[in-house]
Amino acid sequence: MNGHRGFSVLRSEAAGAVRTALVSAENLQLTLKTELSQEEQHLTPHTHTNGGPDETHTKGYCTEVNEDLKEMLESNKESLKLEAMKRVVGLIAKGKNASELFPAVVKNVASKNIELKKLVYVYLVRYAEEQQDLALLSISTFQRALKDPNQLIRASALRVLSSIRVPIIVPIMMLAIKEAASDMSPYVRKTSAHAIQKLYSLDQDQKELLIEVIEKLLKDKSTLVAGSVVMAFEEVCPDRIDLIHKNYRKLCNLLVDVEEWGQVVIISMLTRYARTQFTSPWKEDGVFDEHNERAFYESDEEKTRDETEAKPYMMDPDHRLLLRNTKPLLQSRNTAVVMSVAQLYWHLAPKNEVSIVTKSLVRLLRSHREVQYIVLQNIATMSIQRKGMFEPYMKSFYVRSTDATHIKSLKLEILTSLANEANISTILREFQTYVKSQDKQFAAGTIQAIGRCATNISEVTDTCLNGLVLLLSNRDETVVAESVVVIRKLLQIQPTQHSDIIKHMAKLFDNITVPMARASILWLMGEYCERVPKIAPDVLRKMAKSFTSEEDIVKLQTVNLAAKLYLTNSKQTKLLTQYILNLGKYDQNYDIRDRTRFIRQLIVPNDKNGALSKYAHRILLAPKPASVLESAYKDRDRYQLGTLSHTINTKASGYLELSDWPAVAPDKSVRNVEVIEPGKEWAPSLGKTGKSKPAKSSDDKFYSDSGEEEEEEEGSGSSSSEDGSGSSSSEESGSDAESHVQKNSSQSSEESDKSSSQSEKSSSESDSEKERKTKTPLQKKTVKPTAKDGDSDENGNVAKEANSSSAEESSSDSESDSDTHTDSDSGTEHKKKTKSKAKPKVEVKSTKEVSLLDLGDFTPAPVTQHKSSVLSPSLLGDLEGLSLSNVSSTIQLSGPAFVPEKSHDLLHRMTGKGLSAQYQFPRQPCLYQPTMVSVQISLTNTTDHPLEQIHIGDRSPTGLNIHCFNTIECLEPEASVTVFIGIDFNDSTQAANFQLCTKEDHFSVSIQPAIGELLLPITMTELDFRKEQSKLLGMNESSATITMAAENMTSQPISRPVATVANLGVVPSSQDNVHRFAGKTASSGAVVLVMVELRESSTALITINTEKSVMGSMLLRDLKLALAQA
């Protein structure tokens, strides 16, 4: 009602404005003809105001040219006009003033020639603001064009109309925007979304009316509109978060198909939205809610520990939806999109999932220099909080001599942040190269970085200090100066052991000319003068000589040194001090005069100030806290990552603060209204394959409710199919583009007639409804009937509404698909709610049944289409892919089936002088790097004295990648400790040799892995197994027939001995006598398939398929031994 009234008021207002415009236009036209020359004179001053200084002297020439142009524009020949307009636009492009041509140009606004018209538009938009009255001449043309049947013309008219920044036409603009917002062409609607922002910046009073339009456009289903309207939302009413609720799920689901720029805007808006609507996923990292490859990179160890006691944090399904739907965008070619997804994960994802963005961010580093700059800045901020994320990619941050200066310093920053005990030696070696760089600024930066490493990692403090002392004899002043400054800071932390360094610096003092460095040395002398009692007075003596020629900063420190020496060693330095104080007293710099006066009063006792000088010693030689060397990026994360504010480290205008997580999640149901999730139709079938694998994964035991986990997994699975099918449906509409226009018109007719469209129900919907009803009984097994009914009703309604308005008259097939999906989804949600009541296992079953049904319903479709439909190849391609995707996406890592208890001696206590070490393979994915095999080492001290500083020393081969454990500071007698290390064996059984060091000794030890330990178990379906196997024939296959040991045939399942030998996952098998196992190699991820086929008379055929044929044969040998043993 209200809106309607507003509309009519607007209309009349607009009409008024048009009338004024037309009247003034008429008048002007009259005047134009008669008084052109006058007009011109009137306009000339503009040249001065707008043009640069170069304009003024060519003014005469300009007017001449303009005279020419004006003639051309007024001629009757199209080509002449066009030529003239091109030259005019050329002038604009060069930044020259062409405003005096306005009257001549504006007459051509109604030209039939489309190029000429466009050029006139360009001109209008540029100068309308300055010549408002004249601009009004063109308005009526645009108003006519807004009604044009051609959508291109409508859109461009709206574009230009809204770009003319003339306040008087605001009502006209408002009206045009309102009309265009319900235009049948999505392109025109997109244009209207853009126009909203323009109007808002012109007249902020229109805000309320504009918000109404935004609200309407937010409901739009077109991917074309989504990005633009969210942009308008961000500009006009970013605080009206309530407008988003109902569109949240739609936006999440559309996201993949929105154009790249829109994606960036939507993602950053949704980031803010999510921070206000969901609770923090960071409190307990315990829940392992997505069982896929990302878990692999993660610290599962931490998780498993937490899980036992954690009360499960339940992520809002909508929160998960957002994370799931943004993930594929990490593969975008648009760096801005990748960055925005990365920041979304950083701000919203549970801590253990954030690292999936690492790879993509590192990828961006290969892009243009400017992109590198921004990405490195963000990585710098991230790496401070989460070293682990980027540590595996450390080498990507190595500096090249060709990098730009700011890139170099950012890389240095990141390397410094990544430094830890394990990699510091590598980093320091790299730094050594940088210190020698020709770019001295960069070399100085490196020295600071070394200083920071030295303070952060106590093990290397001495090494760094020694290295820095060596740099003191460098020839370059900047390097020396920086070294001195850094050394001073380091010495301040632990001054006791380093009096020789101070002495050394004193010796170098004469050669150092950089004021800051000299000042630093003087300060050190003064501060630790008691440690260098002989040298300090001597330095002071030298300084007394050269005092007058020193820089101010050096003079101040000289005064300080003098004062401190006077207090500690007044016998030797009294005269010197007085001399220096006298020099200072007459210095030109007032700071130095002040300081001198102050010091004199403080230290030299006289009758007036006796009270203070008593404390002089305590004042001047008070212990001073060491300065902290820390990163400039330490608190950058107060700004949302990826924003301009983050880059410039100040709040940019218009920056929208990211709110903190709410303690209690606001009402979830606000988002419930629209539950269309097009393209999720294949989810159930995926769920099915997920379910079909046996719940033998050892992770399961950590979950009190394994059902819950399965649910989530299904969710993640569905996401993988979702995009594909999402695009399939959209591409379908693309492929029959011919019918598009008709579709549009039909759609718009529905839209313009809202009431009818809402009441209208297409037959396909009622069909789907029926279908849902037929399925309900199946779901009722787990779900309380009442609750289910109530909610599904609601959902049903929503879906109906959504369908009717989207009404792209798509095939009833896909509609019903999406509907059934909605259904199964709501089903799962309910299951979660009723989880406490129903047993998890039953739930799993029920989902399976539902999905089985779905699969039965829909898989045949693509197959039949395969032959018949040549017309929609894209759809076909997608469907094909989807049915396949079910299969391969189930190849996932699983937990170990069996953990061998057997441990091996690493270091015997006799050879280890009392330190004994044993290792075993815990068969857990390695925390540090996915390619590493994790090894558990138990260290025991069998001596009677504590062993100190146990760590890993040199290793061979040199390229061997070991993630060491943190140095054990002290191991008490009879105590033992268990540590984990990660070794990248590179898929070979070559022993890893390294040294186990204590404070006193080094012991060379070696770990030789059995071939089976280099594998990680994976699960897959039998079908997958066969498919993978068929790819790995020929030389990739090795097999052998063996006679089975008796006990292997009878007493226990065959999986047991196989699991003992190799870390493989069991593949469910439909035949009793065939057992299948699957794994992948840790380093290269090559699939390893093992098949044991039991034959009569206790023989068995073992077949191993892997592209690593050497591994295959070794594994075969081991298996033969294990299975055939007597």
């Binding site: 066009l82 492009a93 060069k94 930044g95 020639n113 489309i114 360009v122 603001e129 959508q151 291109l152 392109y187 244009t191 323009k198 074309l224 942009m231 720029w261 594929p328 593969q331 975008s332 070619r333 760096t335 801005a336 925005s340 790879k359 243009h368 400017e370 700059y373 921004i374 090249r400 001599s401 060709t402 700011h406 190269t433 020698k436 020709q438 020839r475 370059d476 990826g642 924003t643 301009l644 100040t650 218009g654 920056y655 993988s720 979702e722 594909g724 591409e731 509409s733 583009a737 598009h740 040549v870 929609s872 190849p873 076909l876 892919g881 989807l882 995707s885 079910n886 996406s889 290269s1084």
Partner: protein
């Protein structure tokens, strides 16, 4: 979003300006020019500059600065990415992106910019869409235009703009239907003095040139997709199909485009195709030094290494050089101290060598660090990672296209520390 764009040449002259909102005086560029003065190299100009009222985000590309003026918060990468698109668009339309080209086609560039942004927000950035709205200039067309008075500006709404396949225009027709794919791999490496690899990785890109009629749906599969570690795609690629099947399925844009970029699994050891033996030494007393560089083939998989070029930034204190090359020729610019040795093809029998003396300015100290060598090379018909295209299938159209795949290996940022 983006308020204005200025194109600035290296000497600081603003030769094009475009405003999408109210006009921003070009005096705002002074802040940028100031920063440019301060920077030693054009690359060192900070990409983001904060001025009292505006934020300036700039890129430096093809010897031109693209400077955009921003007034409110916006993701900087959004702007940077867009500016690069502008540069690519110019390149795409006129064959190169340079000051002369922009000046020659000033009006067309201006029209394009007008279409690319609306009120500072990207509107049409797909080259196929733009080309339908404003046709790229060809000699034939400009002749026709002058004769008939028709224009380069299209009068229909680009179909791509409306469909969900914005990258492809409808109604494409070719008499010869062809699809070519170039697999180009670049080796990024840092080698230390002794020749051991400090860091090496391979990144590749699949460039496509597809000229097929109608709406073809292509599927490209690799023999060994496991090699690929990290990938990014043109929006046309169906990501989910890649995830599940490791095939590239897509409806291609018309013409040239980058299908995918990838990074080869870091675990696979990178074959370094050449080795460099070098010694650069300066004598402590007497102001000269020696340079001796030999390049030889290492792991080339039996292919010939071509286009070998060694670039050295010599220290600033070098006065002159006197070198002889056994193969190829060298050029030396005494202003920039840039030594470029263009070797050409590597002959394993007779290794190219460059040696001679360097003389330093009198009295200048011995340079601290030896300059690092940047190597450029090319190997035809080889993807160094071993990646191979398995097959290309086309669905949806009846004709039989002509297909071709080419492999090239190049040196990326290949640096030898000395």
């Amino acid at each position: 979003m983006i308020n204005s764009l200025f194109l600035i040449n290296p000497s600081g002259e603003i030769f094009l300006e475009k405003h999408w909102k109210s006009v921003v005086s070009r005096s705002v560029c002074d802040y940028f020019l100031e920063a440019k003065e301060k920077a030693l190299e054009p690359e060192d100009v900070p990409p983001v500059i904060h001025t009292p009222h505006h934020y300036l985000i700039s890129i430096y590309r093809d010897k031109l600065f693209f400077l955009s003026v921003i007034q409110t918060e916006v993701p900087p990468l959004f702007v940077i990415e867009f500016l690069h698109r502008v540069a690519e668009m110019i390149q795409d339309y006129f064959g190169e992106c340079s000051e002369t080209v922009v000046k020659d086609h000033m009006v067309m560039v201006y029209e394009l910019l007008e279409e690319m942004l609306d009120n500072g927000f990207p509107l049409a950035t797909e080259s196929n869409v733009l080309k339908e709205m404003i046709r790229p200039p060809t000699i034939l067309r400009s002749v026709v235009n002058t004769l008939t008075g028709t224009s380069n500006v299209g009068d229909t709404l680009p179909t791509g703009q409306l469909s969900t396949i914005p990258w492809r225009r409808a109604g494409v027709r070719y008499t010869n239907n062809e699809a070519y794919f170039d697999v180009v791999e670049e080796i990024d490496a840092i080698l230390d003095q002794s020749g051991t690899t400090v860091f090496a990785e391979i990144q590749g890109v699949v460039e496509a040139c597809v000229k097929l009629s109608g709406m073809p749906d292509l599927t490209l599969s690799f023999m060994n997709p496991r090699l690929l570690d990290d990938v990014s795609f043109h929006p046309c690629v169906r990501y989910k199909l890649w995830e599940s099947e490791r095939v590239l399925s897509f409806i291609p844009p018309d013409g040239n485009f980058t299908l995918m970029t990838y990074h080869v699994n870091a675990q696979n050891l990178v074959a370094i195709p050449v080795y460099v033996k070098q010694s650069i030494s300066f004598f402590e007393c007497g102001s000269d030094g020696r340079l001796d560089v030999t390049v030889g083939p290492k792991q080339t998989m039996g292919k010939t290494v071509e286009g070998v070029m060694v670039t050295v930034h010599l220290p600033k204190t070098i006065l002159s050089i006197n070198l002889t090359a056994t193969q190829g020729s060298y050029t030396y610019d005494n202003g920039t101290k840039l030594l470029v040795w263009d070797i050409g093809k590597l002959n394993p029998q007779k290794l190219p060598n460059l040696r001679g003396s360097l003389s330093l300015q009198a009295g200048a100290p011995k340079p601290e660090e030896n300059p690092s060598l940047n190597i450029d090379l090319k190997i035809q018909q080889l993807a160094i990672s071993g990646l191979k295209v398995n097959r290309l299938d086309m669905f949806g159209e009846k004709y039989k296209p002509f297909k071709g795949v080419k492999y090239i290996t190049k040196a990326g940022k290949f640096q030898v520390r000395t």
